[in-house]
Point group: C2
C-alpha cells in the first residue's frame, strides 16, 4: 500500500491543489457558483475513487454530496462526514500568498512541507484524505467495512440544511460510527484524538444612537455615541476575573473533577511555547484555569468583528449613527446554544443605556459534544494511530465547534469519532 | 442692492452648484486633482467678483487661494478666511442623494428650500457668500473697507500648510479683523454669533493581540482578543459620571461662573426639540451640565471610527490580530491640544493589559478659541444682524473646532469674528 501511495503522490497532490483553488466561500453569496463547482468536484472525486450511487443533492442553500461503497450487509458501516466549503479569507492582506493559489512551504513544524491555502486543513484536505483512503483500500482489496460519504457545503455558515437532509434520509445514512476529520492531532510525537468539541452561539449586534451621522464638534458630548456605548457594553460582558456576566450563562456548565483536570493538562504544551507560537507576551483568560482548560472545558466569549464610523484614511470628526459587532460564544456540554443565545440577547438589550437602540440578530449555533473512549470506534482509531505514529493517542477536548455534530448522534443514533490530523 | 441680488439669484445659484459638484475631498489622495480644480474655481470666482492680485499658491499639500481689493490705505481691512475642501462623504449609503450632485429640497427648517450636497454649508456655500458679497458691494459702489481673501484647501485635514504661509506673509495678510463664516447662526428667529470654538485632538489607536488572526474555537479564551481589549480600554476612558479619566485632562479647564452659565443656557433650544431633531430618546453626557454646556464649554471624547475582525456578510469565528479606533477630543480654552494628545497617548498605553501591544498615532489638532464681544468687529456684526434679521444677535460658544483659528490671532495680531449662517 505504501508503494501505491508513493506512486500516486504527485497525482493526488495535483488533485487536492485543484480543489483548493476553488473559492468555495459559503458565507458570501457572490461565490455561490464556486461552492457548487466544489460540490461537483467532490462528487467526481468520489466516483473516481470507486464509490457508487454518487448524488449531488440540491438544498435551498449549498448542495450536499453523497456517495457509498457497500461491500457486504454484515460488515460494519462507517459514515464519513466532511465539508467542502471554506471561511472567507478576509483580511486578505494578512495572507503571505493568495488564499486560493496554494503554495507548498517548509516550516519548523512541517519540515517536509505543507500546503498553504484557504481550506487546506479545514476541511478540504482532511475530507480529500478519506476519499483517497477509500481509493487506496479498494485498489488494494483491503476495504473490510462499508463506507458512506456525506460531504456538505454549509459547515462554515451553520449547516442550515443538513439536519433536514439527515432526518429525511435516516435509513440511507444508517451506520455504526461516524468519522469526522475536521480537528487537529496536537503533534505527531504525542498524537491526540479529539473526544469533545465546544458548542457555539454566534450573534450580531447593532447599537444606534442618533438617527444620522453627526458632526462630533457640534454634537460631541450631548448624545450617546454608539461606538463608545457599544465598547462599554462589550467591556461589561466580562468581570474582573474574565468570567462572562450574562445571568444564567454558567448555570449548566459541568464541574470537572480535579483529577480529570490534572490529566487533561498533562499532555498539553506549556504556555511559553504557546505564547511564542502566536507572538504574545502573556496569555489572557478566565481566572483559575490553565490555557488548555480555558479553550476546552470552559465557555468563552469573543468579539469576532466590530465596525462603525469613519474607517478610511486620515481623520473625520463624525459621531456615527450606528455601530456593529459580531460576537460569538464557545459553549461546553449541557449549555444549550439556543438558550444561551436568548440569554445573550436579553442581557445585551438590558444593559443598553438610554439614548441608544439595540438590535440583536442570532446567527448559527450548535451544542457541545463529548464522545466516549471505551468502545469499538475509539479502539479502532487508537489501533490505527499506534500503527501510524508508533505511539498510542491520548484523548483530548477541543476548543472548536462543529455545530452540527450533536444532531448526528441524536438523529442517527451512533457515536462520532474525530480523527483529525492538523498539526499546529 | 436687493434688486441686484434678485436679478442675479439664478446665476449665483448655478455657480454655487457648479462648485459643489467638485469632489474636493482633501483627506483622500485620490481626489487631489479635484481639490486643485476647486482652488482654481475659487480663484476665477474672486476675479469675476472684481478682486485683484489673485494667486493660487502651491503648498506641499493643497493650494491656498489669495485675492484682495484694496480701496484706500486708510480704510479698515477685513481678511476673509474660508475653505474649499470638504469631508469625505462616507458612509455613502446614508445620503438620500449623491453628495456631489446638489439638489434643492424644502424642509421644515428650510421652507424656501436648501441645497443638499457635501460642502453646501461647510464651507463652500458660506465662503461663496463672501465672494458674492464683494461682487455686490463693488457693483453698487458700496464697499467701504479693504478686503483680503485667504481660502484654503486643507481645513478638513488640519490646515497643515497654512501656518507657514501666514507666517511668511504677515505683511500681505495684515488686517484689522478676520472674518470667518464656517459656523451656524442657531436659528433666524434668535440669531447667534459664535464667540468661541472648541479645540481638537485627534488620535488613532491600534491594539494588537496575537501576531496573526486566530480561530476563535481553537484559541478562544486563552488570548487577549484585541477587539474585546480595545472595547474595554475605550469604555474605561469615561467614568460613571461621563467624565474623562485621563490624568490631567481637566487641569486647565476654566470654571465658568453660574451667572455666565445661566445666560448661555437662556438662548438654547430645549432638550425635547434637540432630541426630536436627531431621533434620540435621551441625551447623554457629562453629569451636572446641560446639553448646551456639554457641547460648548466642556471638553469631550468621542470614538469617530472603529474596526477589526470580520465585518462582512454572515459569520466568521475569528480572533483578529489587530483592532483599530479613531478617537478625538474636543477641547476648551486653556487646554493645549499638543499636551492633551500626549496625555491621551501615555494614558492609553498605560491602561493596556498584558498580552497586547498598543500603538498610538496623533492626527491633527488645534486650540480652542474665544473672541470678545466689546469691540468694533463684534459691534459691526451685531449691527448687520439687526438690519438683516430685525433682532440683535446673542453671543454663543460653539462645540466645533476650526483648529487653525488661534494661530491667526497669534501671528496676525487681530481678533476673529465668526459670522456663520448655518441653520440647524
Amino acid at each position: 500500500m505504501k508503494k501505491y501511495i508513493q506512486e500516486n503522490q504527485d497525482k493526488y497532490l495535483k488533485q487536492l491543489i485543484e480543489l483548493l483553488k476553488i473559492p468555495s466561500i459559503s458565507a458570501d453569496p457572490s461565490y455561490t457558483a464556486d461552492v457548487r463547482k466544489a460540490a461537483v468536484w467532490v462528487g467526481d472525486a468520489l466516483e473516481e475513487a470507486g464509490c457508487d450511487n454518487i448524488e449531488i443533492i440540491a438544498t435551498i442553500g449549498h448542495p450536499i454530496v453523497y456517495a457509498e461503497k457497500i461491500l457486504n450487509a454484515d460488515f460494519p458501516t462507517v459514515l464519513v462526514y466532511g465539508h467542502y466549503d471554506v471561511q472567507p479569507p478576509d483580511p486578505i492582506e494578512l495572507w503571505d500568498s493568495p488564499p486560493f493559489e496554494p503554495v507548498i512551504k517548509k516550516t519548523p513544524i512541517h519540515p517536509e512541507g505543507a500546503i498553504f491555502a484557504r481550506g487546506a486543513c479545514d476541511d478540504k484536505g482532511q475530507m480529500f484524505m478519506h476519499i483517497k483512503a477509500i481509493e487506496l483500500l479498494l485498489e488494494n482489496n483491503k476495504l473490510d467495512c462499508n463506507v458512506k460519504f456525506m460531504i456538505e457545503g454549509e459547515e462554515e455558515v451553520g449547516s442550515d440544511n443538513l439536519e433536514k437532509f439527515i432526518k429525511e434520509n435516516k435509513e440511507k445514512l444508517k451506520s455504526d460510527i461516524i468519522l469526522i476529520s475536521d480537528t487537529g492531532i496536537g503533534n505527531v510525537e504525542k498524537p491526540a484524538i479529539t473526544t469533545g468539541l465546544r458548542g457555539l452561539s454566534y450573534m450580531e449586534v447593532m447599537v444606534q444612537g442618533p438617527n444620522r451621522d453627526l458632526h462630533s464638534g457640534l454634537y460631541g458630548g450631548t448624545v450617546a455615541n454608539p461606538i463608545n456605548i457599544l465598547s462599554k457594553m462589550i467591556a461589561s460582558l466580562h468581570d474582573e476575573k474574565n468570567r462572562i456576566v450574562i445571568p444564567g450563562f454558567y448555570d449548566m456548565v459541568e464541574d470537572i473533577s480535579p483529577s480529570d483536570r490534572k490529566e487533561m493538562n498533562t499532555f498539553n504544551s506549556d504556555d511559553e511555547e504557546f505564547k511564542a507560537s502566536i507572538g504574545i507576551d502573556a496569555t489572557y483568560g478566565e481566572e483559575g484555569y490553565t490555557s488548555h482548560e480555558r479553550k476546552s472545558i470552559r465557555p468563552t466569549l469573543d468579539v469576532n468583528g466590530i465596525w462603525g464610523g469613519y474607517t478610511g484614511e486620515g481623520a473625520k470628526t463624525v459621531i456615527p449613527s450606528k455601530a456593529f459587532a459580531k460576537i460569538s460564544m464557545r459553549l461546553v456540554p449541557n449549555q444549550k446554544w439556543e438558550e444561551i443565545s436568548k440569554l445573550f440577547e436579553s442581557h445585551f438589550k438590558n444593559i443598553a443605556p438610554k439614548g441608544v437602540k439595540v438590535a440583536v440578530e442570532r446567527h448559527h449555533g450548535g451544542q457541545a459534544y463529548v464522545t466516549p473512549t471505551d468502545n469499538d470506534g475509539y479502539r479502532a482509531a487508537e489501533k490505527a494511530y499506534k500503527e501510524a505514529f508508533g505511539i498510542a493517542p491520548h484523548p483530548k477536548r477541543d476548543g472548536g465547534s462543529i455545530p452540527i455534530v450533536p444532531m448526528f448522534e441524536e438523529v442517527l443514533g451512533c457515536k462520532i469519532y474525530f480523527n483529525g490530523l492538523w498539526i499546529r
